[in-house]
């Protein structure tokens, strides 16, 4: 019976429309440089706050899938990746456009993004129930280590320095602590203000960090001119699709695995699969970096496959795969759902619904991706001077709309300014939001773990190193730490001295 929910968004006209609108909007949001899927979903959460869960999820899933793909279009046409996950796409996509093959490049990237999307969803469908069952055996200390691992991975992979990443993650954890302690109702960082008893609105933090700070950053380039491209046929030839299908499938598998690691997303998946395609393609028609189609297809398939992958830890462990799934987890909390292994037992219909909506969004992505290119070119050319004031206005209204509280707006503005300077000076924003989301989970599991070990740290560590799963997670945490210290480079130099 639960499986029937797979088709819920397919047969309910309202849900079908919401997935379609979301995917369409996502493609354009992802394509316009400076607008990100994270920004769109974080602003949208505030407006869908009072909606039914299914409606809100349909829209968000559409935007997520469409947005990850949408970034490729401006990467190909303008050499400006619309989203971080399209950085690798620009390397060979733009040279193809310069040769007059923009239409073919868009067609191939759309088709292969859909292939990647389907592979990711298939893996999610098969892996999630098994992971979820396995997760039931997890101890509190395992959740604690997984969450710490997620924050560390985001910190180390998405920015210039692990130390700055850890700072950002710890800041997020601290923000998540504000309010009354859930166990003892003791005040934490409330400074005597009753308004802070319920904590800082998660939505205000998100809109500030992702919406306002990004829009302010983009205002630095408000005078930049839009570049125009001529596009002809975009539906790819069948022979091309068949020819590049193997590399697309291989890249999709890389994408889904990277996407499933807590804290990693489409951008890293795309770069890794680009590197993989470069190594395994022996004789490309043109060299990589000069318009190799393999170099375009691999990252595109991988970043969309990573979407399905990112849902695996989110739905089974309650740990987000990337920043967007962190926000979607937040939306699920708001609607009274608790992602984690129990979700698959208590609300299996939600899992099938999400799976069905993801498939539908991928189909819409294919349809919208291969049509409407003229409209697309017009929208992408929208002046920033019109676009960004509108985004800032929506950010303020969005932060206000959740609780009808002006305090939330002030918090949002404060986090917007903080996020602006953090980005300016090379701090990552992703770990902050991951920290806010995971704060409660880490706090709860830390206290459960230490209480079950009679408040003894030696006993806790003994437990960690005598359980295979905990030991593996702990070693992963230590490895990430050590690999970012000078000790690691020193060890590498000693063990593998450079050849003269």
């Amino acid at each position: 019976m639960d499986f029937a929910h797979f088709f819920m968004s397919w047969i309910d006209l309202q849900l079908l429309s919401l997935v379609a609108i979301g995917t369409f909007a996502g493609i354009y949001v992802g394509a316009i440089p400076g607008l990100s899927v994270t920004m769109a979903v974080s602003i949208l959460i505030s407006f869908t706050f009072s909606w039914e869960m299914y409606d809100a999820l349909s829209l968000m899933i559409g935007i997520y899938m469409g947005g990850v793909y949408g970034g490729s279009r401006t990467a190909i046409l303008l050499n400006i990746p619309g989203a971080p996950s399209a950085i690798a796409t620009a390397m060979d996509g733009y040279p193809l456009a310069q040769k007059g093959l923009a239409g073919e490049a868009i067609g191939l990237s759309t088709t292969m993004s859909a292939v990647g999307g389907f592979v990711g969803i298939a893996v999610l469908g098969f892996a999630a129930p098994a992971v979820s069952e396995f997760a039931l055996t997890f101890q509190p200390r395992d959740y604690l280590l997984l969450a710490v691992l997620g924050i560390l991975l985001v910190g180390s992979l998405s920015g210039e320095s692990l130390v700055k990443g850890i700072f950002a993650g710890a800041l997020g954890l601290t923000i998540g602590c504000v309010g009354l302690d859930p166990l003892t109702a003791q005040e934490r960082f409330t400074f005597g203000q009753i308004e802070l008893w319920g904590g800082i609105s998660f939505i205000a933090v998100m809109i500030g960090l992702f919406g306002v700070s990004e829009a302010l950053q983009q205002l630095q380039h408000v005078d930049s001119e839009a570049v125009k491209q001529v596009i002809r046929r975009i539906v790819p030839q069948w022979s091309s699709v068949v020819k590049y299908l193997p590399i697309s499938m291989q890249s999709s598998l890389i994408g889904v695995i990277i996407g499933a690691l807590p804290g990693t997303g489409g951008d890293i998946a795309a770069l890794m699969s680009y590197d993989y395609a470069k190594r395994v393609t022996k004789n490309p028609e043109v060299p990589f970096g000069q318009g190799a189609k393999e170099g375009l297809i691999a990252p595109e398939a991988a970043n969309n496959a990573a979407v399905g992958g990112a849902f695996v830890p989110m739905l089974t462990l309650g740990i987000p795969g990337d920043a967007v799934t962190a926000i979607i987890i937040g939306a699920m909390f708001i609607h009274g759902l608790n992602p984690g292994p129990m979700l698959m037992i208590e609300r299996p219909e939600m899992f099938w619904f999400i799976l069905g909506a993801l498939v539908l969004a991928t189909i819409f992505m294919l349809i919208f991706g291969l049509t409407g290119i003229r409209l697309f070119v017009k929208i992408v050319e929208l002046p920033r001077a019109v676009l960004f004031p509108l985004i800032l206005l929506l950010s303020i209204v969005g932060a206000f709309a959740v609780n009808n509280s002006i305090i939330d707006v002030y918090f949002m503005l404060g986090f917007g300014v903080l996020g602006y300077f953090m980005k300016m000076y090379g701090y990552q924003i992703g770990p902050v939001i991951l920290g806010v989301i995971l704060s409660r989970l880490i706090d709860d599991n830390w206290r459960r773990a230490i209480i079950s070990d009679q408040e003894s740290l030696p006993r806790l560590f003994h437990g960690i190193f005598t359980s295979p799963l905990s030991a593996v997670l702990m070693i992963a945490v230590i490895l990430i730490f050590v690999s970012n210290t000078p000790l690691w480079s020193w060890g590498k130099r000693k063990l593998f001295p450079a050849q003269p």
Partner: protein, 170 residues
């Protein structure tokens, strides 16, 4: 894009401010429940803020040692448009509730579009009105998001329009 090998204007001050913020938060965390136990309500906040202190100090030490970037002055990190929009947002947030969504948003869009596009007042007004109409239709009428009414009797206007559309309020 931030160049990690060079220190941007204001980066040293920012890193020191983060150290001060971290120390303050750590001090506040110690006041929650002191050091009474590992599972006490204050233990996790102390861990989180303690991590902030350690990492903020490391970053500050690294930043102080960096050579200065070629870019000088606050303009490099805070261009005029950014300051202008930040100030506009503060005024917008202050006026939103007492004045209402429609007039505040229109003025906000009008001034920001006029200044940033360097267009004529009429063009800026037209763009702002169209943008606001789109936002209003999507978020207020379709998404049913409640916006502050302020000085505009919005509900009465909507009710009046509905009454006209349904045949003169029969």
């Amino acid at each position: 894009m931030h160049d990690p090998s060079r220190r941007l204007p204001g980066e040293r001050l920012f890193s020191l401010l983060l150290v001060a913020l971290s120390l303050f938060l750590f001090y506040e965390a110690t006041k929650i429940s002191g050091f009474e136990g590992l599972s006490a309500p204050g233990s996790f906040p102390m861990f989180a803020t303690g991590s902030m202190v350690i990492t903020a100090v490391i970053v500050a030490l690294q930043t102080v040692r960096l050579p200065e970037s070629d870019e000088h002055g606050w303009r490099a990190i805070l261009p005029g448009f950014v300051i202008f929009m930040a100030v506009m947002m503060i005024f917008y947030a202050l006026a939103l509730k007492p004045v209402g969504f429609l007039p505040t948003s229109f003025v906000f869009l009008l001034i920001s579009t006029k200044v940033m596009m360097r267009s004529s007042l009429a063009k800026a007004a037209l763009i702002s009105a169209l943008s606001l109409a789109l936002v209003y239709v999507v978020f207020r009428l379709i998404f049913s998001v409640l916006m502050p009414e302020g000085i505009v009797p919005e509900r009465e206007i909507i009710a009046g329009m509905r009454s006209i559309l349904s045949g003169g309020g029969q």
